[in-house]
Amino acid sequence: MTAPPDDCLARNEWICGDYLSTRRHILLDAVGQHLQLTVLSVLIGLAIALPLAVLARRWGWAAGPVLAVTTVLYTIPSLAMFSLLLPVYGLSAALVVAGLVLYSLTLLVRNILAGLRAVPEDTRQAARGMGYGPVRLLLTVELPLALPAAMAGLRIATVSAVSLATVGAIVGFGGLGNLIYAGMNTYFKAQVLTASVLCVVIAVAADLLLLGIQWLITPWTRARRG
């Protein structure tokens, strides 16, 4: 038997280049899973939240119940949420996605609704006066004007989803959370630190990406200032 190698992996150091090079595939797989979980859940969340917010805007009485239900969902702890959905989805990635979708709903519905409500009545009346029907009014006037508030909610929801996805490690589908969980049990410092840092990097990158998209699709907010 040869002497154990004296590298940073053997010394169990926090920062370890060898870890990055030898476990690149594990890391890339985890990042891939993490991105998949997050993107899927935010997109599904958006697809559910948008109609809910529009309906709540159209029929005032619906706003109270919709907001109440989504807020209650947000109060349920993530670990509990994933466990409560366990009987429905079993141990699967769908379980984690479903949990994250339910969380993103609160933030998304609240912000989209706030954006829609902030559209000035004068603007709506002007559009109606120009012969806009309800659908055209919604698509070409109200939704674009609600974009900044909606995007703010989307950014918070995305960043939270990236960070919450790690808890999915409890059912084995936590992306980078899996590495953190495994690293904790084996006292593997480099793995825990690397995975944690990658989580934050993904969250910040996603936030900047959404900020960039918002900048691109709301040219009128820049024109006013410039």
Partner: protein
Amino acid sequence: MNTLTDAWNWLTDPAHWAGDDGVWHRLGQHLVLTVVCLVISCLIALPVALVLGHLGRGGALAVNISNVGRAVPTFAVLVLLLLTPVGDWGEGPTVVALVLFAVPPLLTNAYVGMREVDRDVVRAARGMGMTGRQLLWRVEAPLAMPMIMGGVRIAAVQLVATATIAALAGGGGLGRIITAGFNLASTPQVVAGAVLVAVFALLVEAVFEAAERLLPRRGTR
């Protein structure tokens, strides 16, 4: 629906409520953990927010800390601390991770609350010859109280919810019932634990709601 019946049976079995692994013991741990973390977070965040809000500086700082805070997974912080010397202090890593998690909403809400105090009122108070300290304690802080309490409420509920994660790293609290259920492959226990935590979180929300209604509303008409 079978799982729900099984979970109900789990919950109504007195054997599951007694002892060191029992519900009462875990509930007590959860409550202590939440209260300790909330008090520490308030002691750190509120003075800073009140002073920054009074001076009208550091708004960008408060908002940025809040945004960065959301990006850092509590679970990752907990495990990182667990592997450092802090890990030897028993519940130390959990408390530090949860405090880091609770400070941002407290800071932002209190800061925004201080800044939203009517500037005319502040000018009037200054005109009456109030010192900075008097202004802070007698005018700004009372007027900002609803926003500050809103932040405390958000932090409290989120702490109850997030304290369950401590169980993933071997800490105590109600999360332990859930993780133990996972290890035993007992879905009824997992669901029962989840229901307990959810009910606890909603109870805390309700307590704050009631407190806000009952307490005299100083500073608001």
